[in-house]
């Protein structure tokens, strides 16, 4: 038994690293807000843009439009066709990435200081003047349909999509943002232009930049890049209505290992109890070998390679979900252990010791996230979307430290509902009704 290690750890706990970054709030001459961290030691900039709304802005009957539109932003813009756009991007070694998720359209860019103007001009064209050329639309549409078909035979995706459908029905959260083969096949160029106008507008944009750029330069960049976007997009989508009750849904699929996604309603990001819930989840099934689920399902019984739970506070509804995968003849046991742990936590909460270990981990791990321009830019834009202020970086750990055993117990009773827990199991599970 090695006791010196723990002593050593406690001694050091007081000197834990702090994130030493200085965030500037910048407003461009044209009125666009952004957060900036200047970091001039490497001659490039990481820029993150987020447009709130995302794939949930798909118009009725047009499921998949925002996703396909987003995929086409880099497939031809202004006077460049798809290949010309890519060649020009390659010539200046800029890196652009476009992605649609349920609540956002994300654009990530990295470019070298010496090619900044050329990079911004290209990125601007892709956001403001995408062409949606017929041949590009057909080519990318075929790729999306290929993905839809592959997803339809992938047990993890089937499990997630089935849970969403049962939970949210006809709301966009109830189906894949890719759309269906039918809906994607029917999308026209006009649909894509409409999706573009709906999703990419100045009234829903969040921006962060980290790297070799001053606040003045960033102000000019923002106006050049985003000044010509329309002021308003489509109204934000309605809240999603959670419809699922407790139980088990089995999706029969011939594969050796059953995959389960489980959950019930969760807790909103701006709820005053969110921090207590976050700490609670870390102890129940957060990342790491120390969580109760990992200890009980994997370490003690060897029933799985990984079991996790996670808070999913989306814009239009919050979920508390988890996942596990076990051989068909062992999944029933894994599920019963998870149910027991869920109920035990709801009843008993956590011990003082568990809480302390979780706090030490969470407060120590936080500053380690800030270790690169791209990663810092990503965190900063996420903070803005969560309506946090720049001083959150300094105060966040205090909020974690302030959580008490009583807080966790109260929140556990409030948000953990063992009876509402629904499992979607994909495979050939044995011993499940």
């Amino acid at each position: 038994m090695i006791r010196f290690v723990l002593t050593f750890a406690l001694l050091l706990a007081s000197t834990i690293a702090r994130a030493e970054i200085e965030v500037q709030e910048v407003t461009s001459p044209g009125g666009i807000d952004a957060w900036l961290v200047e970091e001039h030691s490497i001659p490039f900039v990481a820029l993150e843009l987020r447009f709130r709304g995302g794939a949930s802005l798909d118009a009725p009957g047009k499921r998949g439009a925002v996703n396909l539109m987003t995929a086409l932003l880099e497939e031809g813009a202004a006077d460049m066709d798809a290949r010309a756009f890519t060649r020009q991007t390659e010539e200046i070694a800029a890196r652009f990435n476009y992605d649609a998720s349920d609540d956002t359209v994300s654009v990530s860019a990295q470019f070298l200081t010496e090619k900044r103007d050329a990079a911004v001009a290209l990125l601007r064209d892709s956001l403001i003047s995408p062409r949606f050329d017929e041949d590009a639309v057909e080519r990318v549409r075929a790729q999306v349909i290929s993905n839809i078909r592959s997803n339809a035979k992938d047990p993890d995706t089937i499990a997630g999509m089935t849970f969403d459908r049962l939970a949210f029905g006809d709301h966009p959260y109830g189906s894949s943002r890719n759309g269906t083969e039918d809906s994607v096949s029917a999308l026209t160029r006009e649909d894509l232009q409409e999706a573009h106008g709906a999703a990419l507008a100045r009234d829903r944009i969040y921006v962060s930049a980290v790297g070799d750029i001053t606040s003045e330069e960033l102000g000019e960049l923002l106006d050049a890049l985003l000044g010509d976007l329309p002021e308003h997009g489509a109204p934000m989508p309605d809240k999603a209505d959670y419809q699922l009750e407790g139980g088990v849904t089995v999706v029969d699929f011939d594969t050796p290992q059953s995959v389960a996604v489980f959950g019930h309603q969760g807790i909103a990001r701006d709820d005053p109890d969110f921090f207590a819930a976050y700490v609670l989840n870390h102890i129940l099934g957060g990342r790491g070998f120390e969580s109760r689920l990992m200890q009980e399902v994997r370490e003690k019984r060897g029933l799985t390679y990984g079991v996790y739970s996670y808070l999913v506070p989306k814009d239009l509804e919050a979920l508390y979900q988890g996942s596990v995968a076990s051989a068909n003849d062992r999944i029933a046991q894994a599920i019963s252990v998870i149910r027991e742990e869920w109920a035990r936590m709801a009843e008993e909460g956590v011990t003082e010791q568990e809480l302390e270990a979780a706090k030490t981990y969470l407060t120590g791990a936080y500053p380690l996230r800030f270790d690169g321009n791209g990663r810092i830019a990503d965190i900063l834009v996420g903070m803005q979307m969560d309506n946090l202020s720049t001083d959150y970086i300094v105060t966040r750990n205090d909020k974690v430290r302030a959580v008490t055993v009583e807080d966790v117990k109260r929140v556990a009773e409030r948000i953990l509902r063992p009876k509402d827990l629904h499992f979607v199991v994909v495979g050939k599970p044995e011993g499940l009704e």
Binding site: M1, I2, V5, L6, F8, A9, L12, T15, I16, A17, R18, E20, H40, S41, I42, P43, F44, A46, A82, T86, E90, E91, I92, A93, R95, L112, T113, E114, D135, R139, A142, I145, S146, R149, K153, D154, T255, P256, Q257, G288, F289, E290, E299, G302, L303, T304, Y305, A325, S326, A327, A357, T360, Y361, G364, Y366, P367, L368, D371, G372, G374
Partner: protein, 444 residues
């Protein structure tokens, strides 16, 4: 945030630094353990890694999966630490830890605040030699790795297909055996198997320490001598020599059917040389060749098969020269709706043939080189990936100098070199062509 080295970048691309710009120091301890320090003082964070020059390809025949099994078991405690305590202590210090197993190496890492480095060294050096296991650990953890195999391989027809393809590609070399192991052999792995592998390979003279982040090389040296330097070298460590490939003289073709396949595709792999220390030129030419053929929408295969003939929804080519022994050059074509695998394969071969005949587009080659130079700047943003680059290279027979020279070697590749590399590598006698398809599809 503190400043780091100021990049001396002029306004012209021609002046972009070719040489890796990262601050790297390396030295060797008296017991033979190699140490690499990568400095990045932007954040008070450190990555601590130990890489063993032993992976799945070093297993004894019939014991497939034991390297990876042992990797799991290294978290099960030592003479002075309880099972699970290692990760608990890392977590209690706000850190993250994990491990990985490849054909050529097994690695363990922790990412922690820079002032926790000593604690990490104390624990990692302890489990290098003091592992303590009992029968119960073995049985539960064996179930875990079998579930890991279920998750990564058995539930994924593409992974099952790749496993069969590798087995067909390597006639004699253990690269043909899956890293995670064949299921029937995993089920029989024993405590003795794991301990035999541990005793043979886990020693300072078979390990590389990589420390990257907010650290000074001198301080790392002092700590490394204190914790790793005291462990005696294993005098019985033998030369690293695996069974090598005989001449490959017969093209292999395979069809893999699985009801779970939604999107059929064609894959082709060719046996290819790897990067050798001091002689990386052939591998550099192959690296550029893969970029030209399959590196995105402006590549040769995309141009031909996706844009012009529209026979494919996706194409790719890739090659990683970082390998201890012979590796592979890979191509994949995912056909468009209504295009057979036969037609997709023929279209791919026609495109390759035309490329070799007509030569390299000079502008395309320039663009690729520009991006390689730029990646030297971008890669400095992630000290963890730099640490991985050096650790992997050193575990796979390369030196720190080889890694530093690699961008120069890539930049020196000419159009002629690329075509010569293509002629050399595209030898169908050394290839495996695979069709992945659903149960119903016809094979015409």
């Amino acid at each position: 945030m503190r400043r780091y080295l100021a990049g001396a970048i002029s306004a012209l691309f021609a002046a972009l630094p070719l040489h890796a710009d990262e601050a790297v120091t390396d030295f060797t301890l008296d017991n033979g353990m190699q140490v690499v320090v990568v400095e990045d003082h932007r954040a008070p964070v450190v990555v601590h890694m130990v890489w063993y020059r032993a992976g799945a390809a070093d297993e004894r025949p019939g014991r497939s999966g034991v390297a990876h099994f042992l990797e799991h078991l290294l978290f099960k405690g030592t003479e002075t630490m309880d099972p699970g305590e290692f990760s608990e202590v890392v977590a209690a210090n706000g850190g993250r830890d994990n491990a990985f197993t490849s054909y050529d190496y097994t690695g363990y890492f922790q990412r922690v605040a820079a002032d926790r480095l000593e604690l990490m060294m104390r624990m990692e050096s302890d489990r290098m030699v003091n592992l303590s296991l009992d029968q119960a650990d073995i049985l539960t953890e064996r179930d875990v790795i079998i579930e890991e195999r279920n998750q990564r391989v058995e539930n994924n027809p593409g992974a099952l297909f790749r496993e069969q393809r590798n087995a067909a590609q390597f006639l004699n070399h253990p690269y043909g055996v899956p890293i995670i192991g064949w299921r029937h052999e995993m089920e029989k792995l024993s405590l003795e198997d794991a301990l035999a592998y541990y005793g043979e390979f886990y020693a300072p003279n078979n390990a590389i320490l990589v420390v990257a982040g907010d650290v000074q090389p001198d301080a790392v040296r002092t700590l490394a001598e204190e914790y790793y330097g005291k462990i005696p070298a294993n005098p019985d460590l033998s030369e690293r020599a695996r069974p090598q490939e005989p001449p490959q003289t017969s093209e292999r073709r395979m069809i893999f059917r699985d009801a779970r396949v939604a999107q059929p595709y064609v894959s082709r792999s060719y046996l290819a040389p790897e990067r050798d220390s001091g002689a990386q030129e052939a591998a550099a030419a192959l690296t550029i060749l893969a970029e030209l053929l399959g590196g995105g929408t402006t590549s040769v295969l995309a141009e031909k098969l996706q844009f012009e003939e529209r026979q494919a929804v996706y194409t790719s080519a890739w090659y990683s020269g970082q390998s201890l022994d012979d590796t592979t050059f890979n191509l994949v074509v995912v056909p468009s709706e209504g295009v057979t695998l036969r037609d997709a394969e023929d279209a791919m071969d026609a495109a390759l043939e035309e490329f070799v005949k007509s030569g390299v587009d000079a502008e395309h080659l320039d663009r690729i080189k520009t991006q390689i130079r730029a990646s030297q700047i971008y890669s400095r943003d992630s000290v963890e990936s730099l640490a991985n680059r050096y650790g992997g290279a050193l575990a796979q027979g390369l030196t720190v100098e080889d890694v530093k020279e690699w961008p120069d070697v890539l930049d020196a590749v000419t159009a002629e070199d690329v075509i010569a590399a293509a002629r050399m590598v595209f030898d169908r006698r050394k290839s495996v062509t695979g069709w992945l398809m659903s149960e119903e599809e016809m094979t015409q």
